[in-house]
Amino acid sequence: MSTRPLIAVLSLLVLLPMVGALQGCRQARGARDAQGRCVPTPGQVRLSVPSLPNTLDWSRSREQSAGNYPVIQAMMRGLTRLEPGTHAPVPDLAERWEVTPDEAGRPVYRFHLREGLRWSDGVHPLRARDFVMGWKRALLGYEPAALLDLEGAAEVLAAREDLDAPAEVREARIVAALEGLGVREVSPRVLEVRLAGPRSHFLSRLATSYVFYPVPSFDLLDRSEQEIQRYFDEPDGQRPHVLGRFRVTSYDRVAQVLRMEANPHWEGAPAGVERLVLVQAELAQLLYGQCKLDFLFLDDLRALPSVPPEERHRAELLSVYWLGMNTRTLSLPLRKAIGAALEPKALTGALIPDVRVARTLLPPELPGGVAPGAPGTEGFPRFDPERARHWVAQAPDAERTLTLLVRGGGTFLPELSLADGVRRQLAAIGLRVEVVATSSFAADIRAPDGRIRHDLFLRRTGADYAHPQTFFTLFAPGGTHFTEWHLLEEGRAIRRFQTALEAIAEQETEQARTLAATRAQTMLLDTHAVAVPLFFPDRYFQRRSHVQGLSVDPFNFLTFRTLRLEGADP
């Protein structure tokens, strides 16, 4: 037997797939023109996202929902939308509304739906009952707290929370409570919404919280709950029906690819974008360099200088990065000392370019926010080492080593480096801090007995809607402030704060709302020194110059509202 054929076969076995694959890969590497520039795929935009949706069922969203927003907001719209720049709510699905008080003085909204709006099947019009069904489903979903503004919603939640009741009794109570929910169809195009009390944030919330979006009730009425979940989570190109600019054609969870196409019945201009492909990729930067992506987030800020300026973009977010302090383990003088010892500019200077230093908890551009130095902000934390040392001298607990909990990864901010900066700045006034990194913040911040186990923590809080309430919710009773401040003065402090929040909700004018919101900020930043705002984070992203209008909104979500394609990549 000659060995040559065998060796040849073995060699071919090793080499052939390699050659074939390399050839395939050469073709698969994105198309480039003669000058080596990326050539766009006509009508298609392919982008990398940090996470894909955990559900496409906007009424039954899960709480880990950051990946849901871009997709759901591309698919759907709310009764209102926010005006760019001012963040004021303006009509969207509703063409107008009236507010009248009921006999108890609670607001009752009547929304008149825009005429001619049809679901993406092109047949069925949007009806008021689509909202009624959607909101009732949402109250039984994973984010029911967002609907607590509605009259009767608290009763539904109370019935849900009554876990000690027998299952049938509990179920009957929930059904009965849902009947009393303050939302009803007056006529096919008129929706009536009764609120539990004055809620000046309600119209803002309608714009961005997708649990308030309608559902295609004509297509869901005869389905069981399990079938409805499949209807949303296993899209087939036609369903789920949408009202937004794009509909989902497929969602391959194994391949981590979500494909969308233009809604043929979208009322706006198609702007050249027929298909959107969203992928979740670890090495997105590499894929972008190979012309396979048109957009990616630039979360490694060290990479910014290497990005061509015409492709580099920055979005200013309505969010704040802050240091939280455990009011149970740290005395007030020590908390005040920490607030005066931190210099955010020095903390972030080398890490984050063009940082917007925060002197207030609310971003100044948020309705209800104020600029630093505005009346009422005099006692807010500001860098003053002398004052910090003065407070340290008065603190009985300044000698012990403090622990600072920080996320070890998975965020777009260099949090570990920031924590180390905090440690160094506090060391300058004689405080010892040990930095503790975690991959599961919410689980690790609490001891098994439920108490907050760390003295300090770093956290970013973003707005969900354009109103002070979205930041203050965190510090209200039941909020995840992780500062134990609800224990201060045996609960009286947080109750006063709750009263202050109700005062904001009752204000009709922007000026009055701002004054009330500043008083609430004072309670957190000065009176009780619960938190120290550090900076207002921005989000950087890279996009091909032919992809225009693709951006990140102030809520840190990718937005396709103004997306359009123009020419080839220059």
């Binding site: 390699m18 955990n54 707290a145 590499l286």
Partner: protein, 300 residues
């Protein structure tokens, strides 16, 4: 009962044990509920999540399997998979692993053949220093370097083109290992008298190598096959991540990282079943290839 059947039975017992142990271990971790939420998780939601995972229920560890059989999604939303999707992911990893195994064996054989044919001292020294050099290179470094040159899959439409490359990267170390083992065994065989006798009967050096030395030396490779196949399957996790081939390894790592209890339990059990099957298959192959030695070892 035959020794192979005994081993199959032992392997089959490992599978439910893995299912139970993985459920107990993952269930002991704190349940992720709060996340970035601004308000505390409702008791009813917590209870709903716990019931969904079978926590606190007498036969709770069966809950992931109930869901799987009912066609429900395992895991949390975007990271949730049906049984069919899990199998598709598993098949993707198997394709890469099987191709890598084939490439390892072919590459190792080529290496051993080349070494046996080398007359020059310096060429032999060069060839012998290859395996240690390859061992010293971590797979992820090689994968990253190759991915930079060849590109990587952006989505499912391109994944198949990168599977052979990922398999080749994965096979590099195992091929060096197989080559070194086989070359060592062949050197041993070359000193045995039966080869001289074969040459005396008129066989050429090549014929004696292929017909007598190689089948005997291959036993050493067969012994190394189960751990080799296991390491290839486990190693596919790395190349899947780096070439963006979202198959089983990718999914498994993601599920473990995000504490997806039901998914981790089912995936761990499937992986254990796969390893047991591979090990059993290798045993059968070994019994067929070399029945006398296998029988002697079984008797011991």
């Amino acid at each position: 009962m035959s020794p192979v059947a005994t081993r199959a039975l032992k392997g089959a017992l490992i599978i439910p044990l893995t299912a139970l142990l993985s459920w107990v271990l993952v269930a002991a971790l704190p349940l992720r509920t709060e996340g970035e939420a601004k308000t505390e998780t409702l008791r009813s939601l917590q209870a709903q999540l716990e019931a969904d995972l079978g926590l606190g229920q007498p036969l709770g560890f069966l809950r992931p399997w109930e869901k799987l059989l009912a066609g429900e999604r395992l895991g949390d939303g975007g990271r949730s998979y049906t049984g069919a999707e899990l199998m598709r992911a598993l098949l993707g990893s198997l394709r890469i692993g099987a191709l890598a195994l084939l490439l390892s064996l072919a590459g190792g054989l080529l290496y051993a053949w080349a070494l046996s044919r080398t007359a020059g001292r310096w060429v032999a020294v060069g060839l012998r220093s290859l395996p240690p050099l390859i061992y010293a290179l971590p797979t992820f470094v090689v994968a990253l370097w190759v991915a930079r040159s060849t590109g990587l899959a952006v989505d499912d439409t391109e994944a198949w083109q990168y599977e052979p490359i990922a398999a080749a990267v994965l096979a590099l170390g195992p091929a060096a290992f197989v080559g070194a083992v086989l070359a060592g065994a062949l050197e041993e065989e070359a000193r045995r008298p039966y080869l001289l006798a074969a040459r005396a009967r008129g066989l050429s050096r090549e014929q004696a190598w292929w017909r007598h030395a190689l089948p005997n030396a291959a036993r050493a490779v067969l012994d190394a096959l189960p751990p080799l196949a296991t390491s290839l399957l486990a190693g596919s996790f790395v190349v899947e991540k780096l070439f963006h081939l979202p198959y089983f390894g990718y999914l498994y790592l993601d599920a473990a990282q995000h504490r997806q209890l039901a998914l981790v339990v089912v995936a761990t059990t499937l992986f254990a079943a796969l390893l047991v099957s591979v090990s059993l298959g290798t045993d059968l192959l070994r019994s067929w290839w070399d029945p006398r030695t296998a029988a002697a070892e079984d008797a011991r």
